[in-house]
Amino acid sequence: MQVTEPSIAWSREIASLLILLVASFNIAIADEAGDPAPNKPNAAQLQFFEERIRPVLVEHCYSCHSAEAKDVRGGLLLDSRDAILLGGDSGPALVAGKPESSLLLEAMRHESLEMPPDRKLPDNILNDFETWIQLGAVDPREGGVVRSKRSIDIDKGREFWSFRPLVKPAVPEAGDGWAISDVDRFVAAARSEAANTTTLATADEATPETLIRRLSFVLIGLPPTLDEQKHFIDAWKANPETAMSTTVDRLLASPQFGEHWGRHWMDVARYAESTGGGRSMMLPDAWRFRDYVIHSFNTDKSFQQLVREHLAGDLLPASNDKQRDEQVIGAGYLMLGAINYEEQDKEQLRMDVVDEQIDSMGRSFLGMTLGCCRCHDHKFDPIPTTDYYALGGIFRSTKSLTPGNVCGFVTTPLRVGFDRTALDQWIAKNKELERQISELKKPGREKNDRPGAPNRNVLTGIITDDSEAQLEGKWVASSFQQPFVGVGYHHSDSPRTGVSARFETQLPENGEYVVRMVVNHGESRSDKVPVVVTHADGESTVTVNQKSKPSGDGMFAELGRFRFEAAQQAVVVVKAAEASSGFVIVDSIQFLPISLLSPGERIAASSQIFADNAGKQTELRRLEAERKQHAKSKPEIPTAMCVEDEKSPADWHVHIRGEIRNLGPVVPRGFITVATPVSIGPTITTPNPSTTSGRLELAEWVASSSNPLTARVYVNRIWQHLIGEGIVRTPDNFGETGERPSHPELLDFLAATFVEDDAWSTKRMVRRLCLSRTFRMSSSSTAEQTAADPDNRLLTHAIRRRLDAEAVRDSLLQIAGSLDRSVQSGRTIAKVSTYDNEYRHSMYPTNVRSVFVPSFRNTMLDLFEVFDGANPNLVSGKRTRSTRPAQALYMLNSPFVMQQAQSAAREFLKSPPFEAKNPDISVRNAWQICMSREPTPKELSAILTAIGERPISEDAWTEVFHAMFASVDFRYLE
């Protein structure tokens, strides 16, 4: 006997398997015993394969796992011996001789993977495969295609344009007579290079009225007022350069700059005030991040610092509380992703969060689509999946979630605006109130007793409670109505057939007792409840009226005075079945030994106890009310959404095919190799990675001037917002599948200048670009330009662009005189609730600037939805531009636009630019307010015709403003 795998020890199991095999297969394998060549399978084994294994593979597996498959799944081929042993993405498909370690069998048994996916194959087939593998997986299928694993050549990858080290190129000598800045010389050079094939004219300079509109919208997102327009045009006539620079400086200094540019960044940071997903939870503190971003742009925080704060603000050193808080809020960036906190597989959820963080960070800062590497090496870019999980280790070592059925997210208390002393005083008072309350509740309280209910231990005599009674039939526990003893009482339920309650107790000594029962009386109760007391002298039946208040203490109804013997059970039976209609209640029965009390005291004592108790209850109620009130005055601890490091940071595994339970090798934490200079190395070594997540090191790596991506990606964003299209027109994708830069040298020049000369200052870069000739070109194009360069990649003229949704709304409000400038910070959610889907914007109308309008993932302001507001679920470096009938319907019919048109008309009619006697001038001014330009004679006459005989009518002007708002030019920037 010989099996192909010599290392297998003979065992009873194998022997029995073989016996089975022999028996069922009707081939005497044993006859072949003695064949010495381990790799030469015997005929029986071959026949077994051919008859039992191969047909199954062909029928059930080859459609997805053979060279002929249309789409090979899981990288796994099962059509040759070598392929099956090599396996697919999840590793070798089988280990010869070890069924229990063979993934193939595991999958066929639907234990982990489920194959074939539509059904489990019958047990006899599974047994065949087990046998086959056990006996060495004899497989004659030689050759075949073995898929070679594609390996990524990192060194070659470094040659790709965006991974090359950033070097400032020399300014070309081009554009003489046209260029007024270095930027222009690069643009001119690109144009003259292309001129080898075509000669393209450059557009004229835009008119000053176009330029002031352009500057105003691109820098602060609002139209220039009539005065600002006039002022600029006059200044331009005196000196264009001065006019430009003073206006740019004025706008950069305006707080609205941060509001507008902050919004650009919020698109990238996928900012929202709710989580999205299934149960879209509100994020009541997200506004702090919004304010932080606006503030960062207004104070011109260096982008390098912004990166550090976004990725590791919680770990950065701070010299004071203010700085510390700001940094903590900045790290909220990592928490803003759209996450389905309701996911029940919490391991999956944890990895979903990590993936979201990696993907967003990659696209926001690096222009890399890292999400692709979750399941496999990047198909287009030189980024292996090990790089992804090197980052994965960093973010897995970062805590974002708090546990729960629907998970929560980590928050951090802030220090500024928080009065520690006040809180300490509050806590002290709260403790004192709690102490007093517990003191009052103390005597013998049991843990389930209701507050205010007397406990049995404070009552004299012997108490037996309904909780100890034998309840027959249907009784319902209740604590609905006071007074009662202990945790509550029971009331009868219908039908009352056979319903009774039996109280039994052993009294301590012989003697006479007053027997009483608690009657928490009420109209719904029965008025005739027979109660049988069994005492030393026999049985007595007493009828109790539970409708009326017991005399005396109002709680106990006296059943009578009876003699009991200690040796005998004292029994009280409430015969609910025989009671008159209404609920029957049972609570405690009290036996008051009269020997202990003088006759006058008998009742009084227990009454006193009850009265004391009532006093205590009153006091207790007062204290609890006070505590409730006090709770409301708790000094709010301001908190921010912010990640923190996990307690035990560690490296993590590769997830094969991105599957959370399919763990590959552990990779050390680190960075994207191809974007890291060889001299630095992509792995985190210091400080000790077992005590820190590595997030700080990651932040430094992203913010490093030697990172080839960060500065390039960011200056491209600035360029895009000012010029209309990026130098790279896929701003979030600088990889192979992204577009190539139209002006690579210019991009490098700007990125290097940004790092070396501008100290990562956004405002300096903005100013530089605004003061170029390129920025000042007209958007008019010639047929030749369009034909030769339809996408205007050579920038022969300015790019005509559309206002974003926020600018459309803010312009309407500003022109209507209804823009609410009083809100420039703080929480703007009118009603905070758990989920965002209850929030209807129409119920809380607001005229604040758009950046301050609550931004929920599952309920967006309709105007934003219609005009392509950023999708807060995704990193959006560039807004989509759709043209849809919904936009026309919104402009024509929405109450919001109607209202603004009316307000604008009203506002206009009372102010100087309106001249009642001169409709011509009035129309020109109104037009100028909306469009920042003169109307053409035809436009003028169209409006005048519409006004007709109604030159001072609010209705007429409402109509005019409405049409101007709805017209194309209102929404476009030349």
Binding site: N340, K346, T730, K938, I943, V968
Partner: protein, 504 residues
Amino acid sequence: MKNAEQGTGACFALQPVSFFWQYAMSPSNYSRRELLSQASCGFGGLALNAMLTESSRAADGGTVKADSESIAERLAMLTPRAKRVIFVFMQGGPSHVDSFDYKQDLIDRDGQSIDFTGVRFGDFGQSTKQKLMKPLWRFRRYGQSGKMVSELFPEIARHVDDLCFLHGVHTDGVAHGPATLFLHTGATTLVRPSMGSWILYGLGTENQSLPGFVSLQPSDANGGPRNYSNAFLPAVCQGTSIGRSFQSADQMTIDHIRNSGLSTEETQRRYSLTQRLNQLQADRQGNTDDEVNAVIRNYELAWRMQAQAPEILDLSKETAATASMYGIGEKETDEFGKQCLLARRLSESGVRFVQVNYADQSPNPRWDQHSDMPQHAIHAKATDKPVAGLLADLKQRGLLEDTIVWWGGEFGRTPFSQGSDGRDHNPRGFTVFLAGGGVKPGFSWGATDEIGHLAVEGKVHMHDLHATLLHLLGIDHESLTFQFAGRNFRPTDIYGRVIAEIQS
């Protein structure tokens, strides 16, 4: 094909659009400019125009050029069996073992304990004992096919010979939010387009004056608008909600379809002045800007929609006999009957994908009987006659032949009890039924195990169901792709099998 290899290509992004183009128009190679120049003919054209404008700009923000040659090469036409879909969404998870998945064993073994491995937070991976609970309603046979259906759905039961039951459906997501998102978008957490958006992207739409993907009275909970969102697909693929689940069916309308503050004459005046200004502004640009022209045509279209859509939304146009088929006018069925009737009117008018929602605003939706299973009767009562009416009406109008009706929830319910009289979520085996275009009538495919817990035979994962629906509409789910964030996305991720066995 060079572009495709590089992955920057229009061929990926535009191929399905051309697919629509060829499907809707006569097949030939158009350049983008030619397409645009012909785009004035109606919404189909305009939608396409917008799609081209957008997919050429918005896919990852890149500028992508239409390359008609490579488009022609990559066409993989399938013969469509259906033109449109009506999805009847039973939100919350109706119990399959109490409705369409009859299990004698479950009745026989009522009260027995079984071992169950937890799949939810709190008991994940832990083994517990659970008590089987027999169906609360009696089953009997219906139709030529002899299909067993419970008393919950006596009206739908009369149509079993037109229905194709999938009993081995299973899905991802155990809680409502994730599972509802998965049902609609094929992803529990990641942001992906809704199936209706994919279909609109692939096929465009037939009607010039109506949106192509409509969701009637959808819930804002459990993913809310994300369930009918285009995600990264062009904005024209966005689903349009008509009504919301917190409103009554009488309020079903398209946002801003009418100007409620102005007379018709005033509205007309404002529209005319706007269009006059638009035209002058276009002239001022020398009429060179495609986008400006597209805006002008969108105003024309909006104006036509304003005139025509309200008529289609107006259910009073129907006869009393038709209304009563849907249970309109009866207390329990009035609301849902109106939805179903509107669905038929929209489908008939050429809306590609209509979703009817039996939904509310709660995170625990209507069919979600964790306790008090008898409440299923209320929901069955509210939906049974309307759905049956829809099936009958589609059939009598000949619409069922090329319309797919898809009925189902985000998951089913467990065969064992939760508490004394409830059932928990069961994503691992449940029933969906289809009817109409291209599916076998009077047919059942797949099975759960003997107690109705796990799908074991003819398993159909939600991705497979998506792939199959797309296939019936003539779309190869593996070829319908859109490039975003550096890679090509398709509706079924890397999964999905077309279930050939259920096709007629």
